[in-house]
């Protein structure tokens, strides 16, 4: 055991110096830890393996910040926590969208109607959002999940407010159409 710890310290120094072999060894040693953390923290829909890979890409890119005299886990955590925090924030934003009636308004569901927003409906909408073209999806998410104004989005993406507006319209048209199909099917199923 002693020897292994000693080896890890050497590995960390090698990683700092850009040794990809040492990086690989540390990846295999700690990927389970990172995945465990991710499973604990991020919503179920997120692909945990992708999170693990993303964390280790950052581990390599930011290796100059490593302090070899410190525990590797401290460094690993500092990388993982920022990514997890991003995932958490967008998960909270998403939830807010669904509890704040924005969702009903967007999908033209009348207030006081019988329809309750099930987890299934939420998942369906997320699935539909993922089907949209990348730019449109990004704009829709910034608007609906991050609560940014059209003006803020336009500035951030270096596009006109008109473009933001038309992208959101197109997104809503697509989502409403597809979501109605889903609801119709869901009701058929329900009354059978």
């Amino acid at each position: 055991m002693k020897k292994l710890l000693h080896t890890e310290k050497e590995l960390i120094e090698k990683l700092k110096n850009g040794d990809s072999f040492a990086f690989e060894v540390l990846f295999y040693k700690y990927r389970n830890k990172v995945k465990g953390f991710a499973r604990n923290m991020v919503p179920a829909q997120i692909d945990l393996e992708e999170v693990v890979q993303e964390v280790f890409v950052k581990v390599w890119m930011k290796r100059e910040m490593i302090k070899p005299d410190k525990d590797f886990q401290a460094y690993l955590f500092s990388i993982a926590k920022n990514l997890i925090l991003d995932y958490l924030k967008s998960a909270v934003n998403r939830r807010l969208y669904f509890v704040e009636e924005n969702f009903q308004q967007d999908m033209l569901i009348e207030e006081g109607s019988e329809i309750t927003i099930t987890q299934e409906a939420e998942d369906k909408l997320m699935e539909l959002i993922d089907q949209m073209p990348e730019r449109r999806r990004e704009i829709f998410k910034l608007s609906r999940f991050n609560g940014m104004s059209y003006k803020q989005i336009a500035e951030r993406l270096h596009i006109s407010e008109n473009t933001v507006d038309s992208q959101i319209r197109n997104a809503l048209a697509f989502l409403r159409k597809e979501f109605r199909k889903f609801l119709a099917l869901a009701f058929l199923y329900f009354f059978q």
Partner: protein
Amino acid sequence: MTKQIIEIADRFIADEACSRQDLVELKMWLSNPASSVEVEAWLWEHWAMSPEDDSNAMIEVVFRQIDEYQNISSKPAFSLSQIMKVYQRIAAFLLIPLITLGVLFWMTQGNGSRQMVENIVPRGQKSQIILPDGTRIWINSDTKVKYPGNFEKKQRDIYLEGEAFFDVAKETSRPFVVHTSGINVKVLGTKFNVKAYPNENQIETSLFEGKINLTADDSKSSDRILKEVNPGEAFVYSKESHKLASKSFQKEEIDGWKNNRLIFKDDTFNNLVRKVERWYDVKILYDEKLFDDRHLTVELYEGERLERLLEIVGMTLSVNYQYDKGKIILTPKSKNM
């Protein structure tokens, strides 16, 4: 306040119900710089208590993504050889038949010139080919297989340096002959494995099905039969003493390498090291005298990582390992540690 917000945060990540007010507070807490120390402490607590979870994340994907980032910032921090190494590793498992280096060249024979095909499979890789006659060959790491683009009418000749498993298409009128630098294996249609690495003293032949003849490899008496081998038998030929001896038939081991599994069955330490070097394309340094009495039986599954093998070897054989510039150095664990 802090305690309450942490309770909300814990509820949120546990996928339990949160009111709108809860979510608004949580959003504030997570993004407000004033609470970032609290957030970090909360995250650290979860980091510390999260149990490990078996991950299948792939280092190849990580390297590829790093590569993409670095292409964007046009600052190559990976050398070509490092990238090649990564791609080799992917290739070893995914692109098996594609990576084989097929080299065409002309070889003059007695009756004129014939086109020969040479397949070289480097260390760390494996390959599978199908010959014009329908014979399938699984080629192990660090192996060279050479054969004519079109087989002759009388005989199907193929030249082997390294290890390969043959599933020979049956042709009663045209024998299939595997030439090694020691003996030849002559067959009509069978399944068998030949291991004939130039840097090893022994040539091993194991028969799975059918019948094969081991013949001498001297030009004068190339048809002199040394041994008729039956299914389930294995023979080893010593290049030094020119003698054949029977050997235990290691079916699992051969099936293993064909299916990308590395198996050691009561292997000597030297054998083990040579296999690992070929399999993972690494260089291992150790003092032969200190290890020669150690034997090991291990079975590793497809894609098993080198680190894990070293851990097993380290534990079972009391060996310490260290990495040094791409090499692995093995030393015995001292008894009093």
